[in-house]
């Protein structure tokens, strides 16, 4: 970068100050870290978009952008990639960069600390992202832990947060308000005693010993970009299945509805279903077919439904 002209160098995220090689990656990062619904994992495009989605679909009011540092978590400000960043913050960021260039190379520590300190503890993904993970994708996670760390929001994760946040009492205060509002986390000690036996914790803790079962590796990138199932599917809204990046293809119709729903909507079956009166009264008992097998059963009996006209079966007599 030998240009004198001082334009923004690398794209950076207004919410957490992270830098990226190009804007596309920045956008992916924002969608995955800041604009992702913690309830259904749908990725929105902006902070306000996430807020609206949350209210409309989950009836939950979000007032902070997830994984954002203090002062940058305003959900109402519309940031998209590098667009929408207030002038003041742009200048501030450049100054910081300029200052750093003089002293030392961009230190990853600076990136690490804000997410932990300033972030509301609710989405545990923020805690998981430091060292081992790349900004936006979930690759690089050790096999045995791959999906767990992402999708589970277990209580132990929450308690783990307390020690690393010694300095920000307000964050702890936030957590107190945020926790109860999260319907997914079964809070702290379960309200009822466990009714079902525990999983086998000692059985085969060594995940890597299994030869044939491995957790995802190649598909991890695409899976992190997934927003396959939309919440609140309205009639007529047919979400598509998120394709897998790389050399893999899911053999399934594009619409992300079940195969049964897909089939039931075909004209062949639809016309069977539609004309029927819904809520039929219980059918009269007179439907019983008089020729249900009486004892003892002779061989060679066919299904007794005249319309379908089964031919009597031919098979060797039963040997007992």
């Amino acid at each position: 970068m030998g240009r004198k002209k001082k334009k923004q160098t690398k794209p950076w995220c207004w919410y957490c100050n992270r830098e990226f090689d190009d804007e596309k990656i920045l956008l992916q990062h924002q969608k995955a870290k800041h604009f992702k619904c913690h309830l259904c994992h749908k990725k929105l495009y902006t902070g306000p978009g996430l807020q609206i989605h949350s209210i409309q679909v989950h009836k939950e009011n979000i007032d902070k952008v997830p994984n954002a540092i203090k002062g940058r978590d305003n959900i109402e400000i519309e940031i998209y990639g590098m667009e929408g960043i207030p002038e003041e913050d742009l200048r501030q960021h450049e100054k910081r960069l300029a200052g750093k260039d003089k002293d030392e190379p961009d230190n990853t520590d600076t990136i690490k600390v804000p997410p932990i300190v300033g972030m509301p503890p609710m989405p545990p993904l923020g805690v998981m992202t430091p060292p081992p993970m790349m900004p936006m994708t979930f690759t690089g996670i050790p096999y045995g832990i791959t999906p767990m760390s992402l999708s589970m929001m277990p209580v132990p994760m929450m308690t783990q947060l307390r020690p690393p946040i010694p300095v920000v009492p307000t964050t702890a205060g936030n957590s107190a308000t945020l926790l109860p509002s999260n319907p997914i986390i079964s809070s702290g000690p379960p309200p009822t005693k466990p009714l079902f036996p525990s999983g086998t914790t000692n059985a085969n803790n060594d995940v890597n010993s299994s030869s044939n079962i491995t957790t995802m590796v190649s598909a991890a990138t695409a899976i992190s970009n997934l927003s396959a199932t939309t919440s609140g599917s309205l009639p007529g809204n047919k979400p598509k299945i998120e394709p897998i990046a790389g050399a893999a293809k899911i053999i399934h119709p594009d619409e992300d509805i079940s195969l049964e729903e897909f089939r039931a909507s075909l004209p062949k079956y639809k016309q069977i279903m539609m004309p029927q009166q819904i809520q039929m009264p219980p059918m009269p008992a007179g439907l019983s077919m008089a020729n249900f097998m009486p004892p003892p059963m002779p061989p060679g009996l066919s299904f007794m439904v005249p319309p379908t006209g089964f031919s009597p079966m031919a098979f060797n007599g039963p040997r007992f």
């Binding site: 589970m152 079902f196 299945i241 059918m283 299904f303």
Partner: protein, 360 residues
Amino acid sequence: MTTPFGLSSTTTTNTLVLGQKDLEIIQPPDDAISCLKFSPLSIPQTYLIASSWANDIRCWEIQSNGQSVAKAIQKHDAPILSCCWSEDGSKVFTAGCDKTAKMWDLQANTFVQIAAHDQPIRTIHYIQRPSYSCVMTGSWDRTVKFWDTRQATPLKQLALSERIYAADVFGPMAVITTADRNIQVYSLDQGPTEYKKIESLLKYQHRCVSIFTDKSKNPNGFAVGSIEGRVAIMYVETANPSVDNFTFKCHRSTPQPPTNTQDIFAVNDIAFHPIHGTLATVGSDGRYSFWDKDDRTKLKTSDVINDQSITCCTFDSRGQLFAYASSYDWHKGHEGNVQTKKNAIYFRQCFEEMKPKPKK
């Protein structure tokens, strides 16, 4: 001694003398099979029911020599999506696209409606507890209802977040999963009550769920399969979810030149062996596979059956037989619907091959 069907009981031996190849059930349905279930332990003989997209539910007896005997048939007004037995084996329950569920009294051969929903009913299960019994239906109308078969109004109704895609019941546990990949576990002992919401490990649409048990046959977890050739094994209570819970890939093709792409198929059904605790999965790729979830290994994968997807599978209550249905599941849309392909139900002896491999 007469059985619930009024038949004189034949041999009650459980040892089968079949060879190792798969046998075919006679007179299969004319359209895709949606659900297969063997009769419960309470009946000495072995019966198999199959529901289909041809609107019918059929019942066969599987004799100890491997013969299948066609027994009876009933019809709905629209495709049937699910079926199950009562615990005593005297009744069969069916539900499907006509938005009703029906009860088939096998001895009296009556077939009466016992439930109704606003949308097709996707799942039907019988619940038997010491203090009560009822039928549970899960529908695309986003509700789950519990029915006393003698009353027109449900005993209980639950509103879920999305359309019910799969469910399973075992003893005091029920698991239901919906279109948004939510998984809800219910405890059934004091009537159905929400027990725990579990966050899925799978990132794609859920297609099937099956409860597994611990060594004492108490349900303690479930397997859930998705359209992305993957099954998650999850324990309901575990101190170490990130260690105990895991997913594994299945029903995927081997990448071949020139494209070198891997085809990923939906997992259509999962069934656990009632004795060994190992599991079977069947998929759109037309294969079935057997797995050991504790050892985290694969026991076996079949060849492609009939060049056609396998839609459902089940074990008999004594763990002797594994049955699966070869039907087109529409995973390739219209282009895959080859009219000339027949629907078939196969079964095989499985007690030995489902045994976990001894650890070295």
